[in-house]
């Protein structure tokens, strides 16, 4: 199913690990050079910046080519003709993506990724237009759209499996979110269905990935599982996923059970407290960075949405308490781990082991420093009321001018 051979991907993974170990001084330069010769593979890779730009320009070329075809060759095509040709373009895009990998040996190179993404987009657009009829558009689309969403989800999943692109898995999850809308009018049932899909996904991936714990597929499954945990939580947490509750919550007023049955509402509240520890424990047991991160994020979201859930008043000092809690947890974990033999407890350490972590810290501290919310008020404020906040204008009170 995978377009790349296992040996090539294992070789690439080994090269990355070797590079990391060499930069950490775990192997000498001479050792690194000798071992690198054993990890040669025929796949062509590039760095993240060129990958992004290649993705962008491939997207421009494909979309412009399709646009040129429609305005240059077809004059005023019907909706169905447009749809049929979009389906043909989907097939061509996918075939070129396959060829780019099999012939040019591109691996996460941007070009084959953009082509694969375009194929999913054209497929969905093509299905929607080819099978709808202008005269009975609204009624017809009601029956077509679930198939379009299903097609989008399946093709995205295929792209994920075939090319190993994590964002294709995310796209499949997004398609799934809209499916229950066509099956039931009950809001509760929709939330349950989406959460059920994602829970089933977690179960399937957990079963599959046990055979790939330390091989090249582990990262793919790890990201997919983390996304599923996040998705499942968001579907369950009505304060975040309910369109009618979210604005009220953002406005500072807690949302009540309202549109949902009381039993359903309170069951979801209980689940918002149950899912984070389960996710966190699974991530910690598997030593899975992405699942631990997902567990941590949903744990914080539970704390943040708890008061709106209960309909309690939020206080201005709540974020301070959250900050103290997060800092306290970080310090406790660090001290506890440092107290173990050689700074290790139960296979965990607070010490940096990878040069990748250092790079992330370096990039992250610069970016996060810039993105810190502005705590100086805007210069236009003339009243004596002190108004802090902002966040859209750079750190430390920078105005939005630059």
């Amino acid at each position: 199913m995978r377009i790349y051979s296992a040996s090539s991907e294992e070789a690439l993974r080994a090269r990355k690990l070797l590079k990391d170990w060499a930069s950490e001084g775990l192997v000498t330069e001479a050792q690194h050079n000798r071992m690198e010769q054993d990890t040669v593979c025929d796949l062509r890779t590039t760095n993240i910046f060129l990958r992004l730009v290649l993705f962008l320009f491939t997207l421009i070329i494909v979309c412009a080519t399709v646009g040129l075809f429609y305005v240059g060759i077809l004059s005023r095509p019907s909706e169905q003709t447009t749809g049929v040709f979009l389906l043909i373009f989907a097939g061509i895009s996918y075939a070129v993506a396959e060829a780019a990998v099999s012939q040019a040996k591109l691996y996460r190179y941007g070009i084959e990724e953009a082509l694969a993404v375009c194929s999913v987009g054209f497929l969905c657009g093509g299905m929607l237009m080819a099978f709808s009829n202008g005269s009975i558009l609204a009624a017809k689309q009601q029956t077509i759209e679930p198939w379009v969403l299903t097609g989008g989800a399946i093709s995205s999943l295929w792209i994920w499996r075939r090319f190993g692109l994590w964002y294709a898995f995310f796209a499949a999850m997004v398609f799934v979110v809209f499916l229950p809308e066509y099956w039931t009018s009950s809001h509760s049932a929709r939330h349950l269905m989406v959460a059920g899909f994602y829970a089933a996904g977690v179960a399937v991936i957990a079963a599959i990935r046990s055979q790939h714990r330390f091989d090249y597929l582990d990262d793919d499954y790890s990201i997919a599982e983390a996304l599923l945990w996040l998705g499942m939580y968001l579907a369950i947490n009505l304060q975040l996923s309910s369109l009618s509750l979210l604005p009220r919550w953002l406005g500072g007023h807690g949302g009540g059970a309202g549109e949902f049955a009381r039993s359903f509402y309170w069951t979801t509240w209980v689940l918002t407290w149950c899912i984070p520890p389960i996710g966190l424990v699974r991530g910690i047991r598997q030593k899975d960075r992405f699942v631990i991160a997902a567990g941590g994020i949903i744990a914080v979201l539970t704390l943040v949405t708890n008061k709106p859930y209960l309909g309690w008043e939020r206080h201005t000092w709540d974020p301070m308490l959250l900050g103290v809690l997060l800092t306290g947890v970080a310090l406790f974990v660090r001290r506890w781990l440092a107290g173990g033999k050689d700074g290790i407890r139960y296979g965990f350490t607070a010490v940096r082991l990878s040069s990748k972590d250092k790079r992330w810290m370096s990039v992250g501290s610069t970016a996060l420093g810039l993105l810190s919310p502005s705590v100086l008020p805007s210069p236009q404020t003339s009243s004596n009321d002190v108004r802090f906040g902002g966040g859209d204008s750079g750190g430390a009170g920078a105005s939005g001018d630059f």
Partner: protein
């Protein structure tokens, strides 16, 4: 062949020692597993949440709490943070220095953010400088630059650079006419000042590892400013020429230093600028789509050549 099989093979060939084999195969099995990144993210999020709550509380309850209590509270946090940093800091060195403790950077970051809260409170309540916000921002930028260089802290360096940008922005907001043009010129002045300053400090060997932070910010500010000039209906030729020169410089720097973010900046900003000039006034859809197909392919070929020649390494 999995990494374990390779390690086994390298051990048998004598490429790595048995001790290295044990260590590397352990790391491949995530034994031990490092929580370094997670702990740092928690600390950052904790500081940010705390300061956000502090600002919110002060702004909401200042009248009930009273100025004295608010200022004493903020000053106490500020003094505690800076006392911690100055008392525990290692002697200053122009080279990159490690933090004396894992929480050191976050205490400094907390102190810097609390400083801005307190300064804002003082000015809003007592108008010490009669609403001269630009002076506050300039003073804040100077303080943050000092702290960033004294304690080798990128968080605070970013705060300093954005405060300085804010000062430039506020300075010209006092002049109501020719805003766009003036903003552009000030953005370029900011870019030259920050880029030049960063380069001089790097040449003198003072925290040379900060240079990248300067250059990324400068590149984006300057490209945005130049692009806004290119988008003008009249008098855009000079801006366009300046954009081409900036793209060339960014490309050359990126290729020379193997920093491909700058190649990406040159490609994207340059393409947007050139395209906006070339397709300006063209209403024929075929010509527009044809332009994007032809130029897109040209860019793709050029980038693939660059990627094959230089870009294999991240």
């Amino acid at each position: 062949m999995t990494i374990f099989a390779r390690l086994e093979q390298w051990k048998e060939q004598g490429t790595i020692s048995p001790e290295q084999y044990a260590q590397l195969s352990g790391l491949s099995r995530r034994e031990p597993f490092s929580l370094f990144l997670e702990i740092n993210i928690l600390l950052y999020a904790g500081v940010l949440a705390f300061v956000a709550g502090l600002g919110w509380t002060v702004s909401t309850w200042s009248e009930q709490l009273g100025d004295v209590l608010v200022l004493v509270l903020l000053s106490a946090i500020l003094v505690a943070c800076f006392w911690y940093c100055f008392s525990r800091a290692l002697p200053w060195s122009p080279a990159e220095t490690r933090s004396p403790s894992p929480i050191f950077d976050y205490v400094l970051y907390l102190g810097s953010l609390v400083w801005t809260v307190e300064l804002t409170y003082l000015e809003k309540r007592f108008q010490v400088l009669s609403g001269q916000w630009d002076l506050y921002l300039l003073a804040t930028a100077v303080l943050f630059f000092f702290l960033a260089y004294r304690f080798d802290n990128r968080f605070v360096l970013s705060l300093a650079l954005s405060s300085l940008a804010g000062w430039f922005g506020l300075k010209i907001s006092h002049w109501p006419s020719h805003q766009d043009e003036t903003y552009r010129e000030y953005a370029l002045a900011y870019g030259l000042l920050v880029g030049g300053g960063g380069a001089i400090l790097q040449r003198r060997g003072i925290k040379p590892h900060f240079l990248n932070t300067y250059l990324h910010i400068v590149a984006n500010v300057v490209f945005w400013a130049l692009l806004s000039g290119v988008f003008e209906r009249q008098g855009y030729v000079l801006w366009f020429l300046a954009l081409l020169i900036a793209c060339g410089a960014s490309l050359a720097w990126g290729l020379k230093r193997r920093q491909f973010a700058f190649v990406a900046y040159a490609a994207v900003y340059g393409y947007i600028g050139v395209s906006s000039i070339l397709i300006r006034g063209i209403n024929d859809e075929i010509a527009v789509f044809g332009y994007f197909v032809v130029t897109g392919i040209a860019m793709l070929v050029a980038l693939v050549l660059i990627a094959r020649r230089f870009g294999r390494q991240a």
